[in-house]
Symmetry: C2
Subunit: 301 residues, 2 copies
């Protein structure tokens, strides 16, 4: 197969990244119609429909294979330029590193890894917030090159290593505990006490409830998809919820949040998944992630 | 048309909310197979496919109309019970209020509104983080009953009111400014300076660049979809970015972040969209939103 046309590949990748032909045109400084022609030509070359035209536009199964291929090729090309010392010759474009991170890590220890990794320039981080179920698909489809996830299951073509575990505490405001848990934490009180939940996929609160008196009826639940608002609303007494210890340190120390049951936490292991591909920027990020994890996550018991 | 079977409606709504038959089964304490049978019966009654079976499961166009209908009916029923004083008779289930909020509001002034609205119980907030483009579709499809958005365009069946405006400052660490903007902020320096961007839909940084020396080539960009990590990475010198003033107050006061150009902010008007439907909980939330907006957002010039 001859090498694919790089302008066409760029148009295709920009459509998927931006969600529309117009966004792709803006990103590449050409018209939406030029984008459309390039995509059509690429689809003709490969004999496959690559994009589902919709709102937003998405890659088809064939498109996802191509996306992964394109990202791998450009990573290898960057590596080649780096090893050939070519970055001096032309103005260096930073290498884009798309990475999936779970929200509690992104708002916590991962910031240190991101900062260390980018300290020397040459890397443009493209972070996505995803839960572990979805990040495996992103790795497989080539939308990200690495992911932090609670799942130890390796994705094809990727390596996986254990980073440490994040401790979740069941926290609430003291006034909330007095009101709802004066009689203790059991099936009956848990069924009445409002609970804070990150989103529909967040089962952590239910895991905690299951461990404390069977399966209560669904308590009143507030869905708050922001770690910052989650902690603040817990402090204001809207509900109890499972919060990573590093996000609530100050609140626990000041007494604004207390454990609803002393010393009954849930530890969640985190894993670093990355493509098995020679890439200096990816190696730099992996090292920074390992370092930050060593300092901020708990080692296995 | 006879009234629709409420167990079937609940199964349908739970599939869309949870994304799978299994999640719906867990939420309603029945098997996935029972969920599947109820959905099938509802689809037979209406003569329409309601759910696209996929990962995740999604409502079809017909399903979205039904979803909005179901939420409106249950809101009216709640209102009826409230007015009939029926909440005393049976244990009160809190009224679910699904609301779309932009990330910068959720991590800022909206917390106060949420807290005030829920202070008296009876309301379960179901918050979604959405940009303004998407929240119109969520209102139309009945997935949310209200939304905070930067768009003044009313959605059919909804009222819209102006809340005030949020001021965005172009901020960076002092060392970053010394390194990249010592020669001033213009097309040439903006093309070189790394920029922080919330996600692919966030055009705020480009708006600012367009106002300061034409359209530079795309600078190196880090995508950081968390307001908390965004502010921290700006502070650590990874890039400059547009940050709402209320999220950066402490950092600006301490000198950890400075404006890259003095007094050149962007003000974004925010609007409250809500269904025109009689609902005491929705009215309570609207009042709390208005109050908090009055205290924290800027009045029109």
């Amino acid at each position: 197969m001859p090498h694919l046309n790089s302008a066409q590949l760029a148009a295709f990748a920009a459509i998927v990244a931006g969600g529309s032909f117009e966004a792709a045109g803006r990103a590449l400084h050409v018209t939406a119609s030029a984008i459309s022609q390039r995509l059509k030509a690429l689809e003709d070359t490969l004999g496959q429909v690559l994009v589902v035209r919709g709102t937003p536009c998405r890659a088809t199964a064939a498109g996802q294979l191509l996306l992964r291929h394109a990202l791998q090729v450009s990573t290898l090309e960057e590596e080649l330029r780096l090893r050939l010392g070519m970055h001096g010759a032309e103005p260096a474009r930073p290498v884009r590193l798309p990475v999936a991170v779970n929200a509690d890590s992104l708002d916590g220890w991962f910031v240190e890894a991101a900062s260390a990794c980018c300290a020397h320039g040459g890397i443009a981080l493209d972070l996505r917030v995803e839960d572990q179920g979805h990040s495996a698909a992103l790795l497989r489809d080539g939308e990200v090159m690495a992911a932090i996830s609670a799942s130890p299951a390796a994705t094809q073509g990727c390596s996986v290593e254990y980073l440490g575990s994040m401790r979740y505490l069941a926290l609430a405001a003291p006034a909330f505990c007095n009101r709802y848990f004066a009689a203790g934490v059991d099936a009956a009180t848990l069924a009445e006490a409002p609970v804070l939940v990150y989103n529909a996929k967040d089962r952590m609160q239910w895991d905690f409830m299951a461990a404390h008196g069977g399966s209560p009826d669904e308590p009143p639940a507030h869905f708050v998809p922001s770690t910052r608002a989650f902690v603040e609303l817990a402090e204001q007494g809207l509900g109890w919820g499972m919060i990573p210890e590093h996000l609530a340190q100050a609140n626990v120390r000041s007494g604004a949040l207390v454990e609803i049951v002393a010393d009954r936490h849930i530890d969640v292991g985190l894993y670093w998944h990355r493509w098995q591909i020679a890439s200096t920027p990816l190696a730099t990020l992996s090292e920074a992630v390992r370092d930050a994890a060593r300092r901020h996550l708990r080692a296995p018991a």
